[in-house]
Each structure stands twice: as C-alpha cells, then as structure tokens.
C-alpha cells in the first residue's frame, strides 16, 4: 500500500490524479479463514484491522451483504463523545475516544476527527441536577467534562434560543470539549484500506445465509457466494443481529428500530460545535459542506425497513426550531433511516455466545458510531484470545440472566 502524504498528493496532482491506486482490494471469498467477521460496517472493519494489527491474525474475511459502510456507518450523525454515566460505559467509550484522537495517523487516512465539543443542554431543574451529577461522575472517571451555567452556554453557543419566554428555557449545560464529529465514510474506508493492506479480505455483496455448527461450535458460514469454513466467527451486524442469532440458534434481547436523520441545505458557518438536548430531543451539528446535520428519534415499533415515519421528522423540526429559531427558514434536503438494534439497558452486547467460537458485538442501538475504534479494538481482543477484553467483560450477554444491567437510559437518554 502506498502511503498518503503531502508529497503523494503533490505527485498525484502533477499526474492529473489519474494514478491513484484503489484504496483496498475487492476480494473474492476463499474456502477457509481463521476468522470470519460478518458485517462490513465500521465496527466489523475495525475488528478485522485490530485482529491483524494487534493480534497478528491476518487470515481474516469481512463479509458484507451490501457495500462497506453502507449501513449505519454511513447513516449516523457522526457524533463522537464519551460522556457516559456509569463506570463501565465511561471506560469503554473513553477508550474509543482516545483511539479516535490518534486514528487518522494510525490508519494513514484522514477521518476528519474534529474535537469541536459536544454541549448537552439542560432545560429544567431535573436536567440541571442530572447534568451536574454526570459531570462529577465523569471527572471521577478521568473523562473531561464541565458544567456551564446559562451565561456560559450563551457565550459558547450564542445562536441558541436563550429567551426567558422559551417553552423549554436553557438553564445550563454539560460540555465535553474533547468530543466532536468525524467523517463517517472515511472511518469505514480508512479501516478497510488499513486492514486490506495487512492481508484482510474484504468481500462485498456477500450475504450470510446460514451459520454452520458442529458439536456446539461454529465451523463456517453459508453465503450468497458459497460456503466458507472458519475457525472463529464474529457477528457485527447491528440491526440484523437477531436474524444472525436466529441462524445460530439462540435469542437476543435486542429489538430493531428505524432511526432517522436529516440534513438541511448548505449554509455559511453557523454552528461550530455539537448541540444535544434530551428534553426537546434533538442533536445537531454543521458539516464541513455547510449542511446542518440533525438527528431524530427512533420509531416506537420495530422495523427492518431503512426508513422511518414522518411524525418523527415533524417532531424533530419542532425541537430544532425551539432551540434555534434562527434556522426557521432553512429548507431540509434529505432524510434517511438506519436500522438500529436497541438493548433493554441501552448498552451494547460484546463477547461470547452460547455457540463455541462464535462471538457477538451488537446492541449499540442509537449510538454505535462513536464507539467504532474502541468496539473493534476490544472485540478483536475477545476473538483472538477467546475471552472478553477487561473493558468488554461487563457487557457480556449473560448480564440478561444475572440482572447486572448497565442502565444508560438516564445518561444517554436520547438517540445520539
């Protein structure tokens, strides 16, 4: 693989940008691999990359039924943060955030990670108390976080509706300055390119139809491009986790819901941070192209269709205008949806399954993008060693038997 650099860019420019090599090999499936990863989203590609890079297991295939990064990786609102309440979550998401901070140079690929801060607005006394509690919990866990009073919020994000007569007045907010956004497609492409360079086969248009087992252990998968034998298999398929678990003969506590987002027409720089509000339920940032990127909620019913219902969008626009009356004449360009696997405790499931050598990484629900590097890193460790990474251990599937849930509904109450 030729590295990307300023000199490479200059050489590319001098040759009219006609000599760039493909970023990764579009591989055809081979009959057998040490590890097969099902799902070519950010988490699956990151898992393959860290298997090859950190554990020396490069005989790996990533099977993607569509194109890489075409699912939730390319459908989220690109927000990265680690301000989670409970110790287990804070440790896992902070691990991811630290990897984000070095990711562009690690992958030699610009993922456009921008630490522009994430501001969570408090609109009532409960929000204020919860926000301050969360700031204190985060500080105890060594995660950067600060409480801004109303004046602090006004200075940090002056376009917010700070009127005393607002239906949901702004009473303060929590700010994580190291949080921000990243270019989501670049994350998939960067991991794919780096993994491919280490020998990983990335196989697109390859849908898994069945999981083969023998004596309680996984032996391979049947796909739309033929059978593939595998020593170990990792399921990293987000919204379709229940479908894959069904193939392997066990059930999951997740349910799949459509989660929507939308973008406005591009405008000049207006918002230089990420603003989230649990009470009115909206999260918004501005892309480098100038579009406002606005996140909506999930539909209450389950769905595998990658589209949501209009009432959710309507609610979203109401919430946006409540916070930012300045954008009232802005037109929306497009909306889309992704299928997210929501867990009862709003925390992911990472680790082993009832089937030997079959591993599971799912349940990230509405907030998986931010965890991509950390998720891949700890899941690669789990697959390579056969035992959960210490940061992943609390997120095992058996917590739904033991009752040791990690209830992040309160800390991360909204889709994000």
């Amino acid at each position: 693989m030729r590295g990307y650099s300023a000199f490479a860019l200059l050489a590319g420019a001098l040759s009219g940008h006609r000599r760039w090599a493909r970023a990764w090999r579009d591989a055809a499936p081979r009959p057998a691999y040490d590890v097969v990863i099902i799902g070519g989203g950010g988490h699956g590609l990151a898992t393959a990359y860290y298997l090859a890079k950190a554990h020396g297991i490069a005989n790996v295939a990533v099977l993607e039924k569509g194109w890489i990064g075409g699912g939730n990786t390319g459908r989220n609102t690109t927000i990265v943060r680690s301000n989670y309440l409970w110790d287990e979550s804070a440790a896992l998401y902070e691990h991811a955030l630290k990897l984000w901070e070095g990711l562009s140079s690690e992958l030699n690929y610009n993922v456009m990670f921008s630490q522009r801060g994430v501001l969570n607005i408090a609109h009532n006394l409960h929000d204020v108390r919860e926000g301050k509690r969360r700031v204190n919990a985060l500080k105890l866990n060594g995660v950067d976080s600060e409480w801004l009073g109303r004046e602090g919020v006004a200075a940090f994000c002056p376009i917010l509706n700070l009127s005393d007569h607002a239906r949901y007045p702004v009473m303060g907010g929590t700010l994580q300055r190291r949080a921000g956004t990243a270019r989501h497609d670049a994350v998939a492409w960067g991991y794919a390119r780096a993994a491919s360079a280490l020998g990983v086969d990335i196989i697109q248009n390859c849908e898994v139809k069945a999981i083969r087992t023998a004596g309680g252990r996984v032996t391979g998968v049947e796909t739309s491009r033929g059978a593939i034998r595998a020593g170990k298999v990792g399921i990293v398929v987000a919204g379709h986790s229940s479908v894959l678990a069904d193939m392997a003969g066990f059930r999951l506590p997740v349910e799949s819901h459509p989660l929507q987002a939308l973008v406005s027409e591009p405008i000049k720089p207006l918002l230089d941070t990420v603003v989230m509000s649990n009470a009115v339920h909206v999260y918004v940032s501005q892309s480098d192209k100038g579009e406002l990127v606005i996140g909506a909620g999930i539909d209450a019913y389950t769905s595998y269709a990658q589209r949501g219902s209009f009432p959710v969008i309507e609610h979203q626009m109401g919430a946006l205008l409540e916070l930012f009356p300045i954008v009232s004449r802005l037109r929306m360009l497009r909306t889309w949806g992704g299928v997210v696997d929501v867990c009862p405790d709003a925390s992911p499931i990472l680790g082993t399954t009832p089937v030997g050598n079959l591993f599971l990484n799912c349940g990230w629900g509405t907030g998986g993008f931010k965890a991509t590097p950390g998720s891949g890193h700890v899941f690669a460790h789990t697959i390579a060693t056969g035992a959960p990474h210490p940061l992943a251990a609390p997120f095992a599937l058996d917590r739904f038997t033991s009752g040791k849930l990690i209830d992040e509904h309160g800390a991360a109450a909204v889709a994000h």
Binding site: R251, V254, S256, A300, Y301, S309, F400, T401
Partner: protein, 82 residues
Amino acid sequence: MLLIPCPHCGPRDEIEFACGGEAGRARPSDPSALSDTDWGEYLFMRRNEKGLRRERWRHSAGCGRWFVLERDTCTHALRAGR
C-alpha cells in the same frame, strides 16, 4: 406513515396509537419457581422478527382499546391480527 385499523374506530393515523410490542408473551404464573435463565428469557429476550410479526397496539389517543395487529417489519404492510 401507518394507517392502523383500530377494531373499534376503524383506520386511524399512527400518531394516535402506542405500540405495545411483541404479542403473545404471557407472564409466567409463578415467577419465583423459574430459573434465572428462564426469568431472563421472559423479561428480555425478543423474537424481533424480520418479516411478519404479531404485536400489541393500543389506540391510546382514541378509544383506548388494546388489540393485536399483524405487521410486516420489512414492508410495514398491516392486517388485523387473529
């Protein structure tokens, strides 16, 4: 946008309804007799079907009636449940 057939009021807009989730999940008659696995199974595990699914709905902003609906989770096609 779903147009949901309420058995009492007829077809109405989805915003009038609350989705009650998977149908046919009966609470075990004696939970304390169950193993942790079985109790966890009842509390948390879901079918999460891709395709046709039976689910409970309530016309919460209308007549208040609970009923069962069959819905395809891929196409969102609806029909009254049995």
